[in-house]
Amino acid sequence: MSEYIEHDKAGVSVGLVEKKSFAFAEPPNEMILESGARLGPVTIAYETCGELNDDKSNAVLICHALSGDSHVAGYYSEDDPKPGWWDIMVGPGKGIDTDKYFIVCSNILGSCIGSTGPCTYNPKTVEPYGLDFPVVTIGDMVKAQKALLDHLGIKKILSVIGGSIGGMQVLEWCVSYPEMVVSAIPLATTTRHSALAIAFNEVARQAIMADPNWNNGDYYSGAEPDLGLAVARMIGHITYLSDESMRIKFGRQLQDKSDISYNFDADFQVESYLRYQGAKFVQRFDANSFLYITKAADYYDLEKQHGNGSAVEAFSKTKAKFLVVSFTSDWLYPTYQSRTMVQALKKNGLDVSFCEIEADWGHDAFLLPSKSLTAMVKGFLERVNNENGKEENAL
């Protein structure tokens, strides 16, 4: 996902938030990963907004995508220039209303923004893990989130919400911990990557690994593979946009010049944009984390891992109510993938809503302001919240 940290036009915000961390899996009780490897201790960075109610029934878990973090909404300080990455959706009176719900968002396992990942110190060597960090999966990321929720005393999640790789975590939650998940909102996501998505990820990884500074993942004491990571990010950005959005945003316009320069500078605006995005990204993201997280996303296969190859069988494990949303110009996670998901949910007799939003902005559309997305998320959460109360009373 791109960075679209937009300020709320009305200036409404949840206000100050604090990044916290939770440590678990202290040796010898390490976390056992899907691959069989052991990892510990594990730290998970997380943030919360809103208040957990007395019966702990209003928890909403937000799962971020590839390059996101736990900072979903609000500001770290009074003079913080930017709010969290989904501030337009999360806040008082917003789509995910912090006056009603207790929101939890954690940095995924394998990332580099507070949670344990390849750039964390390996307690055995007192060096950063680098490639000694075990390959983690979407299932492992969710398992770590589950440990966090256990720590917070949350036994039921009113809704798990996320887009893209965050959406994969949403689906994983539904089938791995069905007793905990009341509802789910997977946005612009899939049960498994297409060959196209894997191909783009592979080119991005190759860009990192081809950078001599990458040094087999062992670069933390010297120069970092910034060029490789920047190219990887540029590729990512292309896949997050669409032909339509690029035409509208850039066309063939030149950057700060009246004619082409007959050299290899950034002539076109689109070139300059991608270079800028790449350069900005390397300041905040770790190249090894990029490798690990994209690999986890490519490995994810809900059908295979939970349903012997069948999405219908995989979803037979869940009882959650679903709101599935896709976007017309998203070619990374096209609508047909959401429809396949919806079909499997229907075949299980589950309560599912689906909407394909007309949007020119490609995969990134899920992060951009959209009145209809906000209205749907809000309405859906209100309904599941009401029905949840009634069902609890009936029991």
């Binding site: 109510k321 709101l323 429809r339 919806v342 079909q343 229907k346 075949k347 007799g349 309560d351 599912v352 809503s353 689906f354 909407c355 394909e356 939003i357 007309e358 209809s372 209205a375 749907m376 809000k378 309405g379 859906f380 209100e382 309904r383 009401n386």
Partner: protein
């Protein structure tokens, strides 16, 4: 709520499982959920209407009714409703069969093309009739089927489904009020509503 929807709603028992094909902004389902605590879901093609449904708390799937109806297991619903849409369906027999496969009962309503004003217009003017129920020119109408109450009864025998109950009504297109027509319905009813099984 539209008069025909009020009649449809009166046929549905509290707590039933209902699917509304072409549910629009979810008016009927919203009412049934609130008043009869039904478990309902809709299918609608138009994005803005889908958004309205979900916003109101009515579960809905965006898609084509002919395709979306295929994925449900047999007898998933107590009622599958097709209100004022049959005249726009390309393969009505197949749709009604699917309706009765996934639902124990079906409810179908459509504008009656044998109403006296339709007959009179064609006879007197020689032009394809334009009425309040079917307010389109022949070249811009979404309504590709011309159906009468008698046609539907004949159709039920040919396709092989049972008409359990039928009500003929006289009401305007989106009107909240109307009346039930018992005397010569084929002439005086603007809409027919059928409970089928």
């Amino acid at each position: 709520m539209r008069f025909d929807l009020q009649i449809i709603a009166s046929w549905i028992e509290p707590g039933a499982k209902v699917l509304d094909l072409g549910c629009g902004e979810g008016e009927l389902l919203y009412f049934l959920k609130k008043d009869k605590q039904i478990e309902g879901t809709g299918i609608e093609r138009v994005e803005s209407k889908v958004t309205r449904c979900i916003e109101k708390g009515v579960p809905v799937l965006q898609g084509d009714i002919n395709e979306e109806i295929q994925d449900y297991p047999d007898d998933t619903f107590d009622y599958v409703i097709l209100s004022q849409t049959l005249q726009q369906v390309y393969e009505p027999a197949m749709l009604i069969q699917s309706q009765l496969r996934i639902g124990k009962k079906g409810i179908v309503s459509f504008p009656n093309c044998s109403c006296w004003n339709v007959r009179l217009q064609l006879l007197a003017t020689g032009y394809a009739p334009i009425t309040k129920q079917l307010p389109y020119e022949w070249y811009d109408t979404p309504n590709i089927r011309v159906i009468t109450l008698k046609d539907f009864r004949k159709f039920s025998k040919e396709v092989g489904f049972k008409i359990i109950k039928e009500v003929a009504i006289n009401t305007q297109n989106q009107a909240k009020s109307g009346k039930i027509i018992k005397f010569l319905p084929t002439l005086f009813a603007t809409y027919g509503i059928f409970l089928i099984g």
